[in-house]
Amino acid sequence: MVNTEKFIEQAIAEIREKSHGKKVVMALSGGVDSSVCAELARRAIGENLISIYVDTGLMRKGETERIRELFSDLNLQVVEAGEEFFEALKGVIDPEEKRKVIGEKFIRIFEREAKKTKAAYLLQGTIYPDIIESEGGIKSHHNVGGLPYDIDFEGLIEPLIDLYKDEVRDVAGALGLPAEIQHRMPFPGPGLAVRCLGEVTPEKVEIAREANAIAEEELVEQFRPWQCFAAVIGLGTGVKGDVRLHGWIVAVRAVHSRDAMTADAIELPWPVMHKISSRITAEIHGVSRVVYDITPKPPATIEYE
Protein backbone atom coordinates (compact mmCIF):
# COMPACT_ATOMS: atom_id res chain seq x y z
CA MET A 1 0.00 0.00 0.00
CA VAL A 2 1.09 3.52 -0.74
CA ASN A 3 2.33 5.56 2.21
CA THR A 4 -0.27 8.34 1.99
CA GLU A 5 1.51 10.94 4.11
CA LYS A 6 4.70 10.64 2.14
CA PHE A 7 2.78 10.59 -1.12
CA ILE A 8 0.83 13.76 -0.30
CA GLU A 9 4.00 15.58 0.70
CA GLN A 10 5.76 14.53 -2.52
CA ALA A 11 2.76 15.29 -4.75
CA ILE A 12 2.38 18.78 -3.30
CA ALA A 13 6.08 19.42 -3.82
CA GLU A 14 5.84 18.07 -7.38
CA ILE A 15 2.89 20.31 -8.30
CA ARG A 16 4.57 23.34 -6.75
CA GLU A 17 7.83 22.66 -8.54
CA LYS A 18 6.36 21.78 -11.94
CA SER A 19 4.00 24.77 -12.09
CA HIS A 20 6.75 27.35 -11.61
CA GLY A 21 4.44 29.81 -9.86
CA LYS A 22 2.14 30.06 -12.89
CA LYS A 23 -1.54 29.31 -13.32
CA VAL A 24 -2.66 25.70 -13.60
CA VAL A 25 -5.92 24.53 -15.10
CA MET A 26 -7.59 21.18 -14.63
CA ALA A 27 -10.71 19.35 -15.70
CA LEU A 28 -12.65 18.37 -12.60
CA SER A 29 -15.17 15.57 -12.99
CA GLY A 30 -15.99 15.12 -9.33
CA GLY A 31 -14.63 11.59 -9.36
CA VAL A 32 -12.10 10.58 -6.75
CA ASP A 33 -9.08 10.98 -9.07
CA SER A 34 -9.71 14.54 -10.18
CA SER A 35 -10.97 15.53 -6.72
CA VAL A 36 -7.76 14.30 -5.10
CA CYS A 37 -5.78 16.15 -7.77
CA ALA A 38 -7.72 19.34 -7.10
CA GLU A 39 -7.19 19.14 -3.36
CA LEU A 40 -3.46 18.45 -3.75
CA ALA A 41 -3.17 21.40 -6.11
CA ARG A 42 -5.21 23.66 -3.85
CA ARG A 43 -2.75 22.90 -1.05
CA ALA A 44 0.22 23.29 -3.35
CA ILE A 45 -0.66 26.43 -5.30
CA GLY A 46 -3.95 27.76 -3.89
CA GLU A 47 -5.49 30.46 -6.07
CA ASN A 48 -3.29 29.56 -9.01
CA LEU A 49 -5.50 26.51 -9.61
CA ILE A 50 -8.50 26.90 -11.90
CA SER A 51 -10.89 23.95 -12.20
CA ILE A 52 -13.27 23.46 -15.09
CA TYR A 53 -16.23 21.11 -14.94
CA VAL A 54 -17.80 20.26 -18.30
CA ASP A 55 -21.42 19.11 -18.12
CA THR A 56 -21.53 16.84 -21.16
CA GLY A 57 -25.23 16.12 -20.84
CA LEU A 58 -24.07 12.54 -20.23
CA MET A 59 -23.80 12.87 -16.47
CA ARG A 60 -25.79 10.98 -13.88
CA LYS A 61 -28.94 12.22 -12.20
CA GLY A 62 -28.28 15.30 -10.08
CA GLU A 63 -24.53 15.02 -10.59
CA THR A 64 -23.79 18.53 -11.85
CA GLU A 65 -25.76 20.20 -9.05
CA ARG A 66 -24.02 18.09 -6.42
CA ILE A 67 -20.57 18.86 -7.76
CA ARG A 68 -21.35 22.58 -7.69
CA GLU A 69 -22.22 22.20 -4.00
CA LEU A 70 -19.28 20.00 -3.06
CA PHE A 71 -16.65 22.17 -4.70
CA SER A 72 -18.11 25.55 -3.90
CA ASP A 73 -14.93 26.59 -2.12
CA LEU A 74 -12.83 25.85 -5.16
CA ASN A 75 -12.33 28.20 -8.09
CA LEU A 76 -14.78 26.09 -10.18
CA GLN A 77 -16.16 26.97 -13.61
CA VAL A 78 -19.12 24.95 -14.86
CA VAL A 79 -19.61 24.69 -18.64
CA GLU A 80 -23.02 23.53 -19.91
CA ALA A 81 -22.29 21.60 -23.11
CA GLY A 82 -24.97 18.92 -23.40
CA GLU A 83 -26.33 20.07 -26.76
CA GLU A 84 -22.89 20.23 -28.33
CA PHE A 85 -22.20 16.64 -27.31
CA PHE A 86 -25.49 15.23 -28.60
CA GLU A 87 -24.93 17.04 -31.90
CA ALA A 88 -21.44 15.54 -32.25
CA LEU A 89 -22.69 12.04 -31.39
CA LYS A 90 -25.45 11.93 -34.01
CA GLY A 91 -25.14 8.76 -36.10
CA VAL A 92 -22.06 7.47 -34.24
CA ILE A 93 -22.43 3.76 -33.44
CA ASP A 94 -18.96 2.24 -33.10
CA PRO A 95 -17.86 2.31 -29.43
CA GLU A 96 -14.28 3.35 -30.15
CA GLU A 97 -15.52 6.07 -32.51
CA LYS A 98 -17.91 7.21 -29.80
CA ARG A 99 -15.11 7.50 -27.28
CA LYS A 100 -13.03 9.42 -29.81
CA VAL A 101 -15.84 11.85 -30.63
CA ILE A 102 -16.49 12.51 -26.96
CA GLY A 103 -12.78 12.79 -26.17
CA GLU A 104 -12.25 15.22 -29.03
CA LYS A 105 -15.30 17.32 -28.12
CA PHE A 106 -14.28 17.35 -24.48
CA ILE A 107 -10.78 18.51 -25.34
CA ARG A 108 -12.04 21.26 -27.66
CA ILE A 109 -14.46 22.61 -25.08
CA PHE A 110 -11.91 22.35 -22.34
CA GLU A 111 -9.34 24.09 -24.55
CA ARG A 112 -11.77 26.88 -25.35
CA GLU A 113 -12.40 27.48 -21.66
CA ALA A 114 -8.81 26.87 -20.57
CA LYS A 115 -7.51 29.44 -23.05
CA LYS A 116 -9.60 32.08 -21.34
CA THR A 117 -7.85 31.33 -18.06
CA LYS A 118 -4.39 31.91 -19.58
CA ALA A 119 -3.07 28.96 -17.57
CA ALA A 120 0.42 27.69 -18.39
CA TYR A 121 0.06 24.14 -17.08
CA LEU A 122 -2.46 21.36 -17.33
CA LEU A 123 -3.13 19.16 -14.30
CA GLN A 124 -4.63 15.70 -14.90
CA GLY A 125 -5.77 12.91 -12.59
CA THR A 126 -4.51 10.12 -14.82
CA ILE A 127 -3.98 6.89 -12.87
CA TYR A 128 -2.11 3.77 -13.87
CA PRO A 129 -4.97 1.59 -15.21
CA ASP A 130 -5.91 4.36 -17.70
CA ILE A 131 -2.49 3.99 -19.25
CA ILE A 132 -2.56 0.20 -19.30
CA GLU A 133 -5.90 0.05 -21.10
CA SER A 134 -4.86 2.68 -23.63
CA GLU A 135 -1.46 1.05 -24.28
CA GLY A 136 -3.02 -2.38 -24.67
CA GLY A 137 -5.60 -1.14 -27.18
CA ILE A 138 -8.48 -2.33 -24.97
CA LYS A 139 -10.21 1.03 -24.59
CA SER A 140 -8.98 4.51 -25.24
CA HIS A 141 -9.38 6.91 -22.38
CA HIS A 142 -10.14 10.51 -23.15
CA ASN A 143 -7.45 11.79 -20.82
CA VAL A 144 -4.54 9.68 -22.04
CA GLY A 145 -2.13 10.46 -24.87
CA GLY A 146 -2.92 10.67 -28.54
CA LEU A 147 -5.31 13.58 -28.32
CA PRO A 148 -4.01 16.69 -29.99
CA TYR A 149 -4.13 19.75 -27.79
CA ASP A 150 -4.21 22.89 -29.88
CA ILE A 151 -3.31 24.84 -26.84
CA ASP A 152 0.28 25.43 -25.93
CA PHE A 153 0.53 24.38 -22.35
CA GLU A 154 4.06 24.63 -21.07
CA GLY A 155 3.63 21.24 -19.45
CA LEU A 156 1.47 18.49 -18.09
CA ILE A 157 1.27 17.58 -14.39
CA GLU A 158 0.00 14.11 -13.50
CA PRO A 159 0.63 13.50 -9.81
CA LEU A 160 -1.41 10.23 -9.58
CA ILE A 161 0.24 8.45 -12.50
CA ASP A 162 1.67 5.55 -10.45
CA LEU A 163 -1.39 4.88 -8.34
CA TYR A 164 -4.29 2.49 -8.55
CA LYS A 165 -7.81 3.56 -7.71
CA ASP A 166 -7.84 1.96 -4.27
CA GLU A 167 -4.66 3.83 -3.44
CA VAL A 168 -6.17 7.11 -4.66
CA ARG A 169 -9.04 6.44 -2.27
CA ASP A 170 -6.57 6.04 0.59
CA VAL A 171 -5.02 9.36 -0.35
CA ALA A 172 -8.50 10.94 -0.49
CA GLY A 173 -9.09 9.70 3.05
CA ALA A 174 -5.76 11.03 4.24
CA LEU A 175 -6.54 14.41 2.64
CA GLY A 176 -9.78 14.53 4.61
CA LEU A 177 -12.05 14.71 1.55
CA PRO A 178 -15.72 13.86 2.26
CA ALA A 179 -16.51 10.12 2.35
CA GLU A 180 -18.92 10.68 -0.54
CA ILE A 181 -15.97 11.57 -2.74
CA GLN A 182 -13.51 9.10 -1.27
CA HIS A 183 -15.86 6.21 -2.02
CA ARG A 184 -17.38 7.60 -5.20
CA MET A 185 -17.84 4.82 -7.74
CA PRO A 186 -15.79 5.08 -10.91
CA PHE A 187 -17.74 6.80 -13.66
CA PRO A 188 -16.26 6.62 -17.15
CA GLY A 189 -15.15 9.81 -18.90
CA PRO A 190 -17.67 9.41 -21.75
CA GLY A 191 -20.37 9.11 -19.11
CA LEU A 192 -23.75 7.62 -19.91
CA ALA A 193 -22.79 7.48 -23.61
CA VAL A 194 -20.97 4.19 -23.03
CA ARG A 195 -24.03 2.93 -21.17
CA CYS A 196 -26.20 3.41 -24.27
CA LEU A 197 -25.18 0.82 -26.83
CA GLY A 198 -25.41 2.03 -30.41
CA GLU A 199 -26.31 5.62 -31.24
CA VAL A 200 -26.49 8.02 -28.33
CA THR A 201 -29.82 9.84 -28.30
CA PRO A 202 -31.33 12.09 -25.63
CA GLU A 203 -34.10 9.49 -25.17
CA LYS A 204 -31.66 6.64 -24.45
CA VAL A 205 -29.51 8.79 -22.20
CA GLU A 206 -32.56 9.81 -20.18
CA ILE A 207 -33.52 6.14 -19.74
CA ALA A 208 -29.95 5.24 -18.78
CA ARG A 209 -29.91 8.15 -16.31
CA GLU A 210 -33.08 7.06 -14.53
CA ALA A 211 -32.08 3.38 -14.58
CA ASN A 212 -28.63 4.20 -13.17
CA ALA A 213 -30.21 6.18 -10.36
CA ILE A 214 -32.41 3.20 -9.46
CA ALA A 215 -29.52 0.72 -9.64
CA GLU A 216 -27.41 2.95 -7.39
CA GLU A 217 -30.24 3.50 -4.92
CA GLU A 218 -30.82 -0.23 -4.55
CA LEU A 219 -27.22 -1.41 -4.56
CA VAL A 220 -24.63 1.11 -3.35
CA GLU A 221 -25.39 1.25 0.34
CA GLN A 222 -26.31 -2.38 0.83
CA PHE A 223 -23.61 -4.09 -1.23
CA ARG A 224 -20.78 -1.55 -1.46
CA PRO A 225 -19.91 -2.53 -5.02
CA TRP A 226 -16.73 -1.35 -6.72
CA GLN A 227 -19.07 -0.23 -9.45
CA CYS A 228 -22.74 -0.69 -10.27
CA PHE A 229 -24.74 0.73 -13.11
CA ALA A 230 -27.43 0.19 -15.72
CA ALA A 231 -26.99 0.22 -19.50
CA VAL A 232 -29.48 0.48 -22.33
CA ILE A 233 -28.47 -2.42 -24.53
CA GLY A 234 -31.15 -2.78 -27.21
CA LEU A 235 -34.78 -3.24 -28.02
CA GLY A 236 -37.05 -6.17 -27.22
CA THR A 237 -40.70 -6.98 -27.25
CA GLY A 238 -42.65 -6.65 -24.05
CA VAL A 239 -46.24 -6.18 -23.01
CA LYS A 240 -47.25 -3.41 -20.66
CA GLY A 241 -50.91 -3.09 -19.65
CA ASP A 242 -52.07 -5.45 -22.39
CA VAL A 243 -50.34 -3.35 -25.01
CA ARG A 244 -47.36 -4.58 -27.01
CA LEU A 245 -44.27 -2.51 -26.29
CA HIS A 246 -41.19 -2.70 -28.45
CA GLY A 247 -39.20 -1.34 -25.58
CA TRP A 248 -35.67 -0.88 -24.30
CA ILE A 249 -33.72 -3.66 -22.62
CA VAL A 250 -31.76 -2.45 -19.61
CA ALA A 251 -28.81 -4.45 -18.30
CA VAL A 252 -27.85 -4.02 -14.65
CA ARG A 253 -24.26 -4.72 -13.62
CA ALA A 254 -22.71 -4.72 -10.15
CA VAL A 255 -19.14 -5.87 -9.54
CA HIS A 256 -16.63 -6.27 -6.77
CA SER A 257 -13.02 -5.42 -7.53
CA ARG A 258 -9.91 -4.16 -5.82
CA ASP A 259 -8.39 -2.25 -8.69
CA ALA A 260 -10.62 -2.66 -11.79
CA MET A 261 -8.04 -4.99 -13.33
CA THR A 262 -10.15 -8.03 -12.45
CA ALA A 263 -13.76 -8.03 -11.32
CA ASP A 264 -16.58 -10.41 -10.53
CA ALA A 265 -20.33 -9.94 -10.56
CA ILE A 266 -21.94 -9.59 -7.15
CA GLU A 267 -24.22 -12.48 -6.22
CA LEU A 268 -27.35 -10.43 -5.58
CA PRO A 269 -30.23 -11.96 -3.65
CA TRP A 270 -33.23 -12.71 -5.84
CA PRO A 271 -35.57 -10.23 -4.05
CA VAL A 272 -33.07 -7.42 -4.72
CA MET A 273 -32.87 -8.25 -8.43
CA HIS A 274 -36.63 -8.57 -8.52
CA LYS A 275 -37.09 -5.15 -6.95
CA ILE A 276 -34.66 -3.52 -9.37
CA SER A 277 -36.41 -5.12 -12.32
CA SER A 278 -39.86 -4.00 -11.15
CA ARG A 279 -38.72 -0.49 -10.36
CA ILE A 280 -36.94 0.04 -13.66
CA THR A 281 -39.83 -1.27 -15.75
CA ALA A 282 -42.48 0.49 -13.67
CA GLU A 283 -40.78 3.85 -13.21
CA ILE A 284 -39.27 4.25 -16.65
CA HIS A 285 -41.61 4.42 -19.55
CA GLY A 286 -40.27 2.63 -22.60
CA VAL A 287 -38.34 -0.12 -20.80
CA SER A 288 -39.69 -3.60 -21.47
CA ARG A 289 -37.05 -5.83 -19.96
CA VAL A 290 -34.26 -5.92 -17.35
CA VAL A 291 -31.32 -8.34 -17.30
CA TYR A 292 -28.51 -8.84 -14.78
CA ASP A 293 -24.99 -9.31 -16.15
CA ILE A 294 -23.01 -12.05 -14.40
CA THR A 295 -19.84 -12.03 -16.54
CA PRO A 296 -16.51 -11.51 -14.74
CA LYS A 297 -13.60 -9.40 -16.04
CA PRO A 298 -11.90 -11.01 -17.88
CA PRO A 299 -13.38 -11.91 -20.36
CA ALA A 300 -15.80 -8.96 -20.17
CA THR A 301 -14.80 -5.45 -19.15
CA ILE A 302 -16.70 -3.63 -16.44
CA GLU A 303 -18.44 -1.12 -18.72
CA TYR A 304 -20.11 -2.19 -21.96
CA GLU A 305 -18.28 -0.10 -24.54
Binding site: Y164, T262, D264, P298
Partner: protein, 186 residues
Amino acid sequence: MLPICLVNNFGQFNHLIKRMLRDIEIDAVMIKNDVPPEEVEGSYRGIILGGGPSLERANHAPDYLDLGVPVLGICLGLHIIATRYGGTVNPGKMGGFGGVEVEIVDHTGILEGYPDRISVWASHADEVKVMPEGFTLLARSNICGNEAIGNFEKNIYGVQWHPEVSHTTEGYRVFENFDRITQDNL
Protein backbone atom coordinates in the same frame (compact mmCIF):
# COMPACT_ATOMS: atom_id res chain seq x y z
CA MET B 1 21.43 -7.26 -3.11
CA LEU B 2 20.52 -6.87 -6.76
CA PRO B 3 16.84 -6.22 -7.52
CA ILE B 4 14.52 -8.51 -9.47
CA CYS B 5 13.88 -7.59 -13.08
CA LEU B 6 10.24 -7.47 -14.11
CA VAL B 7 9.83 -7.69 -17.89
CA ASN B 8 6.79 -5.89 -19.28
CA ASN B 9 5.46 -7.94 -22.19
CA PHE B 10 2.60 -5.46 -22.70
CA GLY B 11 0.03 -7.40 -20.72
CA GLN B 12 -2.71 -5.65 -18.78
CA PHE B 13 -1.52 -6.99 -15.44
CA ASN B 14 2.24 -6.35 -15.69
CA HIS B 15 2.10 -3.29 -13.49
CA LEU B 16 0.08 -5.27 -10.93
CA ILE B 17 3.10 -7.56 -10.57
CA LYS B 18 5.13 -4.49 -9.71
CA ARG B 19 2.51 -3.45 -7.21
CA MET B 20 2.42 -6.94 -5.66
CA LEU B 21 6.22 -6.94 -5.29
CA ARG B 22 6.11 -3.48 -3.78
CA ASP B 23 3.39 -4.54 -1.33
CA ILE B 24 5.41 -7.53 -0.10
CA GLU B 25 8.61 -5.45 -0.12
CA ILE B 26 10.56 -7.21 -2.84
CA ASP B 27 12.80 -4.79 -4.68
CA ALA B 28 12.04 -4.87 -8.43
CA VAL B 29 12.71 -2.83 -11.55
CA MET B 30 10.31 -2.94 -14.50
CA ILE B 31 11.75 -2.92 -18.04
CA LYS B 32 10.19 -3.31 -21.48
CA ASN B 33 11.08 -6.44 -23.41
CA ASP B 34 13.04 -4.53 -26.07
CA VAL B 35 16.06 -3.95 -23.82
CA PRO B 36 19.09 -5.82 -25.26
CA PRO B 37 20.06 -8.84 -23.09
CA GLU B 38 23.60 -7.45 -22.63
CA GLU B 39 22.10 -4.55 -20.71
CA VAL B 40 20.07 -6.88 -18.51
CA GLU B 41 22.88 -9.30 -17.72
CA GLY B 42 24.51 -8.99 -14.32
CA SER B 43 22.13 -6.35 -12.99
CA TYR B 44 19.41 -8.55 -11.51
CA ARG B 45 19.14 -11.56 -9.23
CA GLY B 46 16.11 -12.98 -11.04
CA ILE B 47 13.76 -12.27 -13.90
CA ILE B 48 9.98 -12.27 -14.03
CA LEU B 49 8.46 -12.44 -17.50
CA GLY B 50 5.00 -10.86 -17.40
CA GLY B 51 1.98 -11.64 -19.55
CA GLY B 52 1.15 -10.11 -22.89
CA PRO B 53 -0.93 -10.31 -26.05
CA SER B 54 1.26 -12.48 -28.29
CA LEU B 55 4.59 -14.26 -28.74
CA GLU B 56 5.25 -12.00 -31.74
CA ARG B 57 5.62 -9.07 -29.37
CA ALA B 58 7.99 -10.95 -27.02
CA ASN B 59 11.05 -9.15 -28.50
CA HIS B 60 14.14 -10.01 -26.40
CA ALA B 61 12.20 -11.74 -23.63
CA PRO B 62 13.28 -15.27 -24.71
CA ASP B 63 16.95 -14.18 -24.64
CA TYR B 64 16.71 -13.28 -20.96
CA LEU B 65 16.39 -17.02 -20.26
CA ASP B 66 20.10 -17.44 -21.05
CA LEU B 67 21.36 -14.99 -18.43
CA GLY B 68 21.92 -17.63 -15.75
CA VAL B 69 19.51 -16.28 -13.13
CA PRO B 70 16.20 -17.81 -11.97
CA VAL B 71 13.19 -16.97 -14.15
CA LEU B 72 9.48 -16.92 -13.39
CA GLY B 73 7.15 -16.69 -16.40
CA ILE B 74 3.51 -15.68 -16.04
CA CYS B 75 0.92 -16.45 -18.75
CA LEU B 76 2.72 -15.35 -21.95
CA GLY B 77 5.92 -15.58 -19.89
CA LEU B 78 5.18 -19.29 -19.46
CA HIS B 79 4.65 -19.61 -23.23
CA ILE B 80 7.98 -17.90 -23.87
CA ILE B 81 9.71 -20.43 -21.59
CA ALA B 82 7.90 -23.42 -23.11
CA THR B 83 8.66 -22.54 -26.74
CA ARG B 84 12.27 -21.56 -25.96
CA TYR B 85 12.97 -25.06 -24.58
CA GLY B 86 11.22 -27.04 -27.30
CA GLY B 87 7.67 -27.30 -26.02
CA THR B 88 4.64 -26.18 -28.02
CA VAL B 89 1.97 -23.55 -27.41
CA ASN B 90 -1.41 -23.62 -29.16
CA PRO B 91 -4.95 -22.36 -28.59
CA GLY B 92 -6.70 -24.44 -25.89
CA LYS B 93 -9.99 -26.17 -26.59
CA MET B 94 -11.51 -23.56 -24.33
CA GLY B 95 -9.82 -20.45 -23.01
CA GLY B 96 -9.32 -19.81 -19.34
CA PHE B 97 -11.06 -16.56 -18.44
CA GLY B 98 -11.94 -15.53 -14.90
CA GLY B 99 -11.94 -18.05 -12.07
CA VAL B 100 -10.22 -21.43 -12.50
CA GLU B 101 -9.75 -24.24 -9.95
CA VAL B 102 -6.17 -25.46 -10.08
CA GLU B 103 -4.84 -28.73 -8.71
CA ILE B 104 -1.25 -28.56 -7.50
CA VAL B 105 0.56 -31.83 -8.16
CA ASP B 106 4.08 -30.79 -7.09
CA HIS B 107 4.72 -28.18 -4.42
CA THR B 108 8.45 -27.93 -5.06
CA GLY B 109 9.75 -24.44 -5.80
CA ILE B 110 7.28 -21.67 -6.56
CA LEU B 111 4.19 -23.50 -5.28
CA GLU B 112 5.52 -24.22 -1.80
CA GLY B 113 3.06 -23.56 1.00
CA TYR B 114 -0.13 -23.81 -1.07
CA PRO B 115 -2.91 -26.32 -0.38
CA ASP B 116 -3.50 -29.00 -3.03
CA ARG B 117 -6.34 -27.08 -4.66
CA ILE B 118 -6.45 -23.34 -5.15
CA SER B 119 -8.75 -20.89 -6.85
CA VAL B 120 -6.98 -18.60 -9.30
CA TRP B 121 -7.78 -16.08 -12.04
CA ALA B 122 -6.71 -16.56 -15.61
CA SER B 123 -7.01 -14.81 -18.94
CA HIS B 124 -5.65 -16.82 -21.84
CA ALA B 125 -6.68 -18.44 -25.13
CA ASP B 126 -3.35 -20.22 -25.74
CA GLU B 127 -1.79 -22.85 -23.52
CA VAL B 128 1.26 -25.12 -23.29
CA LYS B 129 0.34 -28.24 -25.25
CA VAL B 130 3.64 -30.11 -25.09
CA MET B 131 5.84 -29.56 -22.06
CA PRO B 132 9.49 -28.82 -22.85
CA GLU B 133 12.10 -31.42 -21.94
CA GLY B 134 13.65 -31.17 -18.48
CA PHE B 135 10.52 -29.63 -17.00
CA THR B 136 8.20 -31.10 -14.35
CA LEU B 137 4.44 -30.60 -14.19
CA LEU B 138 3.55 -28.61 -11.07
CA ALA B 139 -0.16 -27.89 -11.53
CA ARG B 140 -3.08 -28.61 -13.83
CA SER B 141 -6.78 -27.79 -14.20
CA ASN B 142 -9.82 -28.96 -16.13
CA ILE B 143 -9.22 -26.19 -18.61
CA CYS B 144 -5.51 -26.54 -19.16
CA GLY B 145 -3.22 -29.56 -18.66
CA ASN B 146 -0.09 -27.50 -17.97
CA GLU B 147 -1.06 -24.77 -15.51
CA ALA B 148 2.41 -24.61 -13.95
CA ILE B 149 5.75 -26.16 -14.87
CA GLY B 150 9.28 -25.97 -13.50
CA ASN B 151 12.84 -26.89 -14.29
CA PHE B 152 14.44 -27.33 -10.85
CA GLU B 153 17.96 -27.56 -12.23
CA LYS B 154 17.81 -24.33 -14.22
CA ASN B 155 15.50 -22.61 -11.68
CA ILE B 156 13.02 -21.73 -14.40
CA TYR B 157 9.31 -21.74 -13.59
CA GLY B 158 6.12 -20.80 -15.37
CA VAL B 159 2.48 -20.40 -14.35
CA GLN B 160 -0.49 -20.00 -16.67
CA TRP B 161 -2.66 -18.08 -14.21
CA HIS B 162 -2.11 -14.59 -12.83
CA PRO B 163 -0.84 -14.69 -9.24
CA GLU B 164 -0.62 -10.87 -9.31
CA VAL B 165 -4.37 -10.12 -9.52
CA SER B 166 -6.42 -9.65 -6.39
CA HIS B 167 -8.89 -12.41 -7.30
CA THR B 168 -6.20 -15.12 -7.17
CA THR B 169 -6.05 -16.74 -3.73
CA GLU B 170 -2.75 -16.07 -1.94
CA GLY B 171 -1.05 -15.12 -5.19
CA TYR B 172 1.77 -13.45 -3.26
CA ARG B 173 3.17 -16.88 -2.30
CA VAL B 174 4.40 -17.47 -5.85
CA PHE B 175 6.45 -14.27 -5.63
CA GLU B 176 7.71 -14.93 -2.11
CA ASN B 177 8.81 -18.41 -3.21
CA PHE B 178 10.47 -17.01 -6.31
CA ASP B 179 12.20 -14.36 -4.21
CA ARG B 180 13.57 -17.11 -1.93
CA ILE B 181 14.73 -19.11 -4.97
CA THR B 182 16.65 -16.11 -6.31
CA GLN B 183 18.31 -15.56 -2.93
CA ASP B 184 19.25 -19.24 -2.58
CA ASN B 185 20.83 -18.98 -6.02
CA LEU B 186 23.16 -16.12 -5.07
